[in-house]
């Protein structure tokens, strides 16, 4: 057996004190679905693990009135099963429901998904269009960073060596909002996104406003499509508007080729997914 040192504090304060002391030598462990394969691959070097699972309430999902607060340790399954999430931020349930498989959703956490900072993450595009804010704590205090600024590059976030992500605050969607999360993977389950599109907008009499679009797996981090969003802003949805938006997003997105797909395919699919989602609103 491989031996690893695992510290399992019982309180958040204790965890933060350990983190302040050990910094990057102490790797937070949530569900472990990224950490364990990473350790096997040798991705982290010599680290000890900081098991967060004994800290009470870190997985709670609560309704704070205008916001939903999701604990960093809430699993994708917790999110999918939460009535609060389903009622107020359904685009997140939709996104978390596409993660991996039953097993992965039952172990993998939303905090882990954010901190892993994969461009193909499923929760991040949804959290991003929702205008969510990450709550980061250290023994010195709490900071807040919008999800859109949280991921810097694959695997790198704004979480500093002494920090832990403790939760995410998600503004409730306005009633009558239009939204979708669409993902294309290499198979129908256990699939990392080749392309994903999250969309959220307010709608009044068919006219869109406050349009937000996030794209997964087409850039080094989950990114927005501000030009396309702007092009849809204040427009009444119809075939011409949709075609324009599709064309625009295909030029706006700058995908790359990798082991899962090609640049051309991804570019075309960003448009296909956007078009499908938007046309769905017309039905």
């Amino acid at each position: 057996m491989r031996t690893l040192e695992v510290l399992a504090p019982e309180t958040l304060e204790e965890a933060l004190a350990l983190k302040a002391h050990h910094g990057t030598a102490l790797l937070p462990l949530a569900g472990g679905t990224d950490v364990i394969p990473g350790i096997r691959r040798g991705a982290y070097g010599a680290v000890a693990l900081l098991d967060l699972s004994r800290i009470p309430d870190l997985n709670r999902i609560v309704d704070d009135g205008t916001e939903i607060r999701i604990g960093a340790l809430a699993t994708h399954a917790d999110v999918v099963e939460s009535a609060i999430v389903g009622a107020h931020i359904p685009v997140l349930s939709e996104a978390c429901g596409t993660v991996g498989s039953v097993q992965i959703r039952s172990r993998g956490t939303i905090g882990g998904n954010l901190c892993h900072a994969s461009p193909a993450s499923d929760s991040v595009p949804a959290l991003r269009v929702l205008g969510s804010v990450c709550e980061i704590r250290s023994s010195k205090g709490t900071r807040e960073i919008p999800v859109g600024d949280f991921c810097i590059s694959p695997g790198v976030t704004r979480v500093l060596p002494a920090d832990l992500l403790v939760g995410i605050r998600v503004p409730k969607m306005r009633p009558g909002s239009r939204w979708f999360y669409l993902k294309l993977g290499q198979r129908r389950a256990m699939a990392i996104a080749k392309v994903s599109v999250a969309f959220l907008a307010a709608e009044d009499g068919g006219v869109l406003s406050d349009v937000r679009i996030s794209l997964g797996a087409v850039a080094p981090t989950v990114c927005g499509a501000p030009r396309t969003a702007a092009c849809l802003e204040g427009k009444k949805l119809g075939e011409t508007v949709i075609s324009e938006a599709v064309e625009m997003i295909q030029t706006e997105a700058k995908p790359i080729a990798d082991i899962r797909s090609t640049e051309e395919y991804r570019r075309e699919m960003v448009g296909v997914l956007l078009g499908r989602g938007l046309r769905g609103f017309l039905e």
Binding site: L184, Q186, R187, R188, I259, R260, E268, V272, G275
Partner: protein, 758 residues
């Protein structure tokens, strides 16, 4: 018949479901060391130095071994020479074994193996199989980098094409396919005090391993005993490879005189172990106006990788199956297996045939489309029937369920309605239905006739329960359930009175490999032979108790009866007890030699296989034109298996094999950069999940084979073989797009759409 033909649960189901089954990695021996393999990081290079000794000082490391530490031959004996166990001086693929480290823990061994410094002088690798036979290609094997060349010469193809109304000619490409067995390769070698060795391991062919290890250690075969442990899937990937894994463990065990366990990591396994041969196939088909096939010409190159391993025989099966399941008077096949600097290709469910059948069955569809004929009707028109001759000139005398599989698959899928209705949609999602019909030569066939025998041992205990041993292996395919059914049937026992021992080379004589869908026929018949001998004695005593002549005795469910009326009976248990007191011998060896086959290598003619199994697949797809995603919705798979000894087992094999075919058709592809595999794990090598599985309707057709046990013939490879062309043909029906390269990824479909627009 009380047991054969019944739907029975697998005899090994309980132990596997409860986790009690012991796989090789579950076993441990006192004093056992753990081994790790130092592997090449270059596809082709001279090895200037390898500093194995330097890791000996690391904590836990006990021993290292390089090519010079091999006591016998540094060669894995199989068909062709030149496959070293540890690379001596030069490496020929990324992942090739160079040296071994033995340590007190697996982690220490892995760590040390990773720290061994190897200095290479890289040489230009040969990666494209189509370059292998060109002048100036790097010389990897023999004079022309060729592991095998087979032909078929039947009739006169030139004349055939001249007389043809339509000639269709295309090139097809198929990728390497990973076996993806759940349990990676593994072995434990245990030196014995009498200077012999026992090797336990996950494997298909213990007798291959025995021969290899005797050669590698320089021991007589009698000093080498191989025991197969519960094997978690193999699919051909554990045909010859365990000789290498076991050989590596054995070398370290021999050197240290301690038991050595070697279990490969998944990535290591995927980098270094065999795959299905990638193939390039040029296929030309000529037909008359009414669809009658008049000529088939095939030229194919199979990429054999770095060493010959099984390439010559894989290629032979491909050659024999190249013209498909049809009557054709003029056939010319030229097939080559060539060397490249990749991991050696090898056996994989279908053994060379799935590649060329993808081409053959796509061709049939193209011909049908060009003639405006229904593809199923075209197949019916040409399909081999009883009395016809195959492309190798073999007259089919019996057990030809070909037409029946077409009819039954068509009926079960409601083919005609769907064919007529679909293929006309206008929306983004198009439905289509496609067909393939194939045959499969059961057993090893005419190229390796000396291997076509098998032994068995049966013993009845004092309480009437029976124990049997065979030389073929259970690897998850359900062999032991079928064999226990056969033994129960022959001796008049209940299924729960029959137990098998693990397959062990010391129990029965060399019975050949467990490949080529041969275990039921070969071991089944050998067991029947053994059972007949035991039965003569057992039932003889029963006859005397019942007071009737032996030929009037009937046995069923653990009871012997005096004739049909069943009014007088005695439990087998009581008969066995009586046998013991009378000192009657209740054990016997059985032996079976397969019916004769023949092969003339010059003309590629002969009775290639003892019998053929037949199958028709009908695939129903939905193709999303915008995304290029093909969804296989339903698969109807009708298989002529001769006789289904355990119909549940047959259905299970149809479902599992089909799903492996779905992966081959749609998603599975080994990707490389500069010869090195870049997707050696299951997050990037995409096999189907349960959500990707189509609704599979298995249909069993039974056209009995008189020489098979209870009419059974070979089965379980063919479910994979015809899926890819059926899917490709369904995609064509849905979209008019013809994809001639596997897998049918969305990217490939979109590219083809672009191309066809231009």
């Amino acid at each position: 018949m009380s047991v054969v033909g019944q739907r029975v649960p697998r005899v090994d189901a309980r132990e596997k479901v409860t986790g009690e089954a012991r796989f090789v990695d579950d076993l441990a021996f006192p004093g056992m060391l753990y081994a790790a393999v130092v592997r090449s990081t270059e596809p082709r290079a001279r090895i200037l130095s390898m500093d194995l000794e330097s890791v000996l000082s690391l904590p836990g490391v006990v021993a290292v071994a390089g090519p010079d530490d091999i006591p016998g031959g540094n060669n894995i004996p199989l068909i062709l020479p030149g496959h070293p166990l540890l690379a001596p001086g030069e490496t020929n693929f990324c992942g090739q074994a160079l040296g071994l480290v033995g340590a007190e823990t697996r982690e220490a061994a892995d760590l040390a193996a990773g720290l061994v410094r190897v200095e290479y002088e890289p040489r230009t690798p040969l990666l494209d199989p189509l370059d292998a036979r060109l002048p100036g290609a790097p010389g990897l094997y023999g004079e022309d980098n060729t592991f095998g060349h087979h032909v078929v010469r039947r009739g006169d193809v030139e004349r055939g094409f001249r007389e043809a109304f339509l000639v269709v000619e295309n090139t097809y490409h198929t990728p390497a396919q990973e076996h993806a067995y759940l349990e990676p390769q593994g072995a434990i070698a245990v030196p014995t005090p009498d200077l012999g060795i026992v090797v336990y391991g996950s494997m298909q062919c213990p007798f291959y391993v025995q021969r290899a290890i005797a050669h590698i250690l320089g021991l007589p075969l009698g000093k080498v005993r191989i025991v197969q442990t519960t094997t978690g899937g193999a699919f051909g990937g554990k045909e010859d490879a365990p000789s290498e894994v076991g050989g590596q463990a054995a070398v370290l065990a021999w050197k240290t005189r301690r038991p050595v366990k070697l279990v490969y990591h998944r990535e290591e396994d995927m980098h270094s172990m065999s795959k299905r041969h990638p193939a390039h196939i040029r296929y030309k088909t000529g037909v008359k106006e009414d669809g009658t096939l008049v000529a088939v010409e095939v030229q194919m190159t199979y990429d054999g990788g770095a060493f010959g391993t099984l390439s010559p025989v894989v290629l032979w099966r491909a050659t024999v199956h190249a013209a498909g399941a049809y009557r054709c008077p003029n056939v010319r096949v030229d097939a080559w297996a060539v060397a490249t600097n990749k991991e050696p290709s090898g056996a994989f469910r279908g053994f060379g045939a799935p590649q060329v059948l993808f081409a053959a069955e796509s061709q049939m569809d193209e011909v049908a489309a060009k003639l405006g004929m229904d593809p199923l009707a075209l197949r019916k028109h040409n399909i081999l029937r009883t009395g016809d001759e195959t492309a190798t000139g073999q007259k089919l005398r019996s057990s030809v369920g070909s037409l029946q599989t077409i009819r039954e698959a068509s009926r079960a899928s409601d083919y005609r309605t769907k064919r007529a209705r679909w293929g006309k949609d206008r929306g983004p999602v198009r439905k289509g239905i496609g067909v393939s019909t194939i045959n499969y030569g059961a057993g090893l066939g005419g190229l390796s006739p000396y291997l076509t025998r098998a032994g068995a041992f049966v013993q009845v205990h004092a309480d009437g329960s029976a124990l049997y041993a065979v030389g073929t292996t259970e690897m998850g395919q359900g062999m032991h359930t079928v064999l226990a059914q056969i033994v129960a049937e022959e001796l008049g026992l209940r299924l729960d009175q029959v137990t098998a021992t693990e397959t062990d080379t010391s129990r029965v004589p060399d019975s050949g490999p467990t490949v080529a869908s041969r275990a039921t026929i070969m071991s089944g018949n050998a067991l029947r032979d053994a059972c007949a001998r035991v039965r003569k004695n057992l039932w003889g005593v029963g006859a005397s108790i019942l007071g009737v002549p032996l030929h009037d005795v009937l046995g069923e469910g653990g009871v012997l009866y005096a004739g049909q009326k069943q009014d007088k009976s005695v439990a087998v248990e009581d008969v066995a007890r009586e046998c013991i007191s009378r000192r009657v011998h209740l054990a016997a060896q059985g032996w079976f030699r397969a019916p004769k086959t023949s092969w003339d290598p010059k003309r590629g003619q002969g009775d290639a296989y003892m019998v053929y199994a037949w199958a028709t697949n009908i695939a129903e797809v939905e193709v999303d034109l915008e995304t290029g995603v093909v969804r296989l919705v339903r698969l109807t798979a009708a298989h002529d298996v001769g006789r289904a000894i355990n119909p549940v087992g047959v259905e299970g094999q149809i479902e599992g094999g089909s799903l492996q075919g779905v992966g081959y058709a749609l998603t599975e592809e080994v990707l490389r950069k500069d010869g090195r595999i870049i997707n050696p794990d299951f997050s990037t090598y995409i096999i189907p999940t349960p959500s990707d599985a189509p609704e599979i309707t298995p249909v069993i057709v039974e056209s009995r084979f008189s020489k098979g046990p209870h009419g059974a013939k070979g089965f379980a490879e063919q479910p994979l073989m015809g899926v890819a062309p059926a899917v490709a043909n369904a995609v064509y029906h849905a979209t008019g797009l013809r994809i001639r390269e596997l897998p049918l990824t969305p990217e490939r479909l979109k590219k083809e759409m672009e191309r066809s627009k231009r």
